[in-house]
């Protein structure tokens, strides 16, 4: 069986179609990384922050305030934020995405705090956090569990989730291209006449084709996501914020998400769901591939 699988694998991977698809996928994956990580809001802002002398500003702010998420934490984050904002009023403002999104959620809606800070600065005064009535966490509608929510770096994980979605589309296309030839190629080449009269042509060979398509798809899935996670890890802040509650992700704004899950657990869930979907895609592709009369097979 292993020998047959080896040959079935060679029938797929030794073709120009597969190699070409792989090369194009590498290009597309690079494009996804560039757009998803480099030119994301976080990526672009951190580059600019670095130019202004504020290296990894969002990360530092997130790590400085990482921990239990409560009204006190929110107050400390925003106190820090408005102090930095007013200190940098004279020159170019760096962009602290971590604090900015939190401010958008908790600043009162009937006031423009930024204008007030600019006005105060003009009067050579400073707006203090005590002068701002922050919306309490309860009023926002955060889910509550037996343990308190945890906050940490979240923007990097938001980017990862988006990129993971795009990568899955690429994986699906590559798997469909690969899987579509598994049965259809032998039919098109009229090799089935030869293969089906062999001892294993209708038994082990068919099983080997299914295993091969599945294993190859899983391999593509693992490699693609491995590269994605690796790129994420080295491009951003490693695993910072992995244990932050998904409810405290102020990019996604899933404040009332009913399950007590952190970013890493959500990421794993996404991968598991994608894996299940991928197996379904493989199954459907193989089903269509083995139907010689289906017009898609002739593509």
């Amino acid at each position: 069986m292993i020998s047959i699988i080896r040959f079935e694998m060679a029938k797929i991977v030794k073709t120009k179609r597969f190699i070409g698809s792989l090369l194009i996928s590498v290009l597309v994956l690079s494009g996804i990384f560039i757009i998803g990580f480099h030119y994301s809001q976080l990526g672009a802002s951190e580059v600019r922050n670095q130019e202004l002398g504020f290296n990894q500003l969002s990360r530092k702010k997130a790590n400085a305030h990482a921990g239990v998420f409560n009204d006190q934490t929110v107050r400390l984050i925003l106190a820090d934020y408005i102090a930095d904002y007013q200190n940098n009023s004279g020159g170019e403002q760096p962009f602290d995405q971590f604090s900015y999104n939190i401010a958008n959620t908790f600043f009162p809606k009937d006031r423009d705090i930024y204008l007030e800070m600019i006005a105060a600065n003009k009067k050579k005064q400073t707006l203090k956090i005590d002068q701002i009535k922050l919306t309490p966490i309860k009023k926002i509608g955060f889910s509550s569990f037996s343990k308190p929510l945890i906050i940490g770096s979240y923007s990097n994980w938001s980017e990862l989730f988006k990129v993971t979605g795009s990568v899955f589309i690429l994986i699906s296309v590559l798997v469909i291209i690969t899987g579509s030839t598994v049965f259809a190629e032998d039919t098109a080449k009229k090799m089935n006449q030869l293969l089906f009269i062999t001892k294993y042509g209708r038994t082990k060979m068919l099983r080997a084709k299914i295993y091969t398509a599945t294993v190859l798809s899983l391999f593509i899935f693992l490699v693609a996501h491995g590269l994605t996670f690796g790129y994420f890890y080295y491009h951003y802040y490693g695993m910072d914020g992995w244990n932050g509650s998904i409810q405290t992700n102020f990019d996604l704004k899933l404040f009332n998400f009913p399950l007590e899950l952190n970013h890493f657990q959500i990421y794993l869930m996404i991968l598991i769901l994608q894996l299940a979907s991928l197996l379904m895609i493989v199954g459907i592709t193989l089903l269509i591939s083995q139907s010689p009369r289906h017009h898609l097979v002739r593509l």
């Binding site: 020998s3 047959i4 040959f7 060679a10 029938k11 030794k14 073709t15 120009k16 098109a188 080449k189 009229k190 090799m191 089935n192 006449q193 030869l194 293969l195 089906f196 009269i197 062999t198 001892k199 294993y200 042509g201 082990k204 060979m205």
Partner: protein, 291 residues
């Protein structure tokens, strides 16, 4: 060793392809001659278990193969028509793949593959990709894969189509070398391929075996029906519409026609010795006339 085809019937939609087709084969080389659409490939597919007959049965050494196709297949070698090999496989890879599917163990598979590649003259290109093989080389690879399991029955469906005369000669010699103690059935339109190597020729027409015999026996049946005559150019079209013409040879002022007819077609027609090609045209003369 005896292969008996008994009363095989097969239809596709409204078209009857095989109609009470029956014959018996013992060790030797058999040429199956038939026009396009006569049912040659269908018959082969039924023997190989790729298609089921509507009725009738096939027996090998007294056992119905439909009841034990799995036991029958290991003694079968089949080269289908016009298969496209895996272009990125080498010749050796391809044979090893087929050997694995045929259940040959790894050790003996490699030895057999190398031996067969030597026999078919492909040992020097065993590591070359099949896409670089010529048509003749691919056909020889095809026969090598059919021989992997040392079959008792070898079925070759139009194996010489597209080959140049030199490759066809090589191929014929190969088949002759493999035919000891085997039943070899080979279908073809190229009568010269079977003329030299077939022990017996089977004429497949109207769904059944219309005639069979050795090449000399069959040719003898139309001994007095082949004529040659010289005619002016303007008469050719009329004669083409009336008779089966197996050859036209254009000369300066006239055309020499080779005509198949029961009676003398023209005053100056001379009886000539028939060939197997004449026999083919005699049987399949409807296919020769174009509207």
């Amino acid at each position: 060793m005896k292969l008996e085809i008994k009363h095989i019937q097969k239809s596709y939609a409204q078209t009857m392809v095989l109609n009470e087709c029956s014959f018996t084969l013992t060790p030797g080389v058999y040429g199956l001659l038939g026009a396009n659409g006569a049912g040659k490939s269908t018959l082969f597919k039924i023997i190989c278990g790729l298609t089921k007959a509507d009725s009738g049965n096939i027996y090998y050494n007294g056992n119905a193969i439909s009841e034990s196709q799995n036991k029958f297949n290991p003694i079968l070698g089949f080269l289908p028509r016009k298969i496209a090999f895996y272009p990125e496989f080498t010749g050796l890879d391809f044979l090893l793949y087929i050997a694995t599917l045929k259940g040959i163990d790894r050790q003996s598979a490699k030895e057999k593959c190398l031996a067969l590649l030597t026999t078919v003259g492909l040992i020097d290109v065993q590591h070359k990709k099949i896409r670089k093989y010529s048509g003749g080389m691919q056909q020889r690879l095809g026969i090598a894969q059919a021989m992997l399991n040392d079959p008792e029955i070898l079925i070759l469906d139009e194996p010489t189509v597209g080959l140049d005369p030199k490759e066809r000669v090589k191929f014929r010699n190969l088949i002759s070398s493999f035919s000891d103690e085997k039943i070899v059935i080979l279908s073809t339109h190229i009568v010269s391929d079977v003329e030299y190597i077939a022990d017996e020729i089977l004429i497949l027409q109207k769904g059944g075996i219309q005639d069979s015999g050795t090449p000399p026996e069959l040719v003898q049946k139309i001994a007095e029906q082949v004529w040659e005559c010289s005619v002016p150019h303007d008469l050719v079209a009329k004669l083409l519409a009336t008779y089966t013409i197996s050859n036209q040879k254009h000369e300066k002022n006239n055309v020499i026609l080779r005509i198949i007819a029961e009676k003398k077609p023209l005053e100056n027609a001379v009886q000539v010795t028939p060939t197997l090609e004449d026999l083919y045209l005699y049987y399949f003369r409807e296919a020769v006339h174009y509207d």
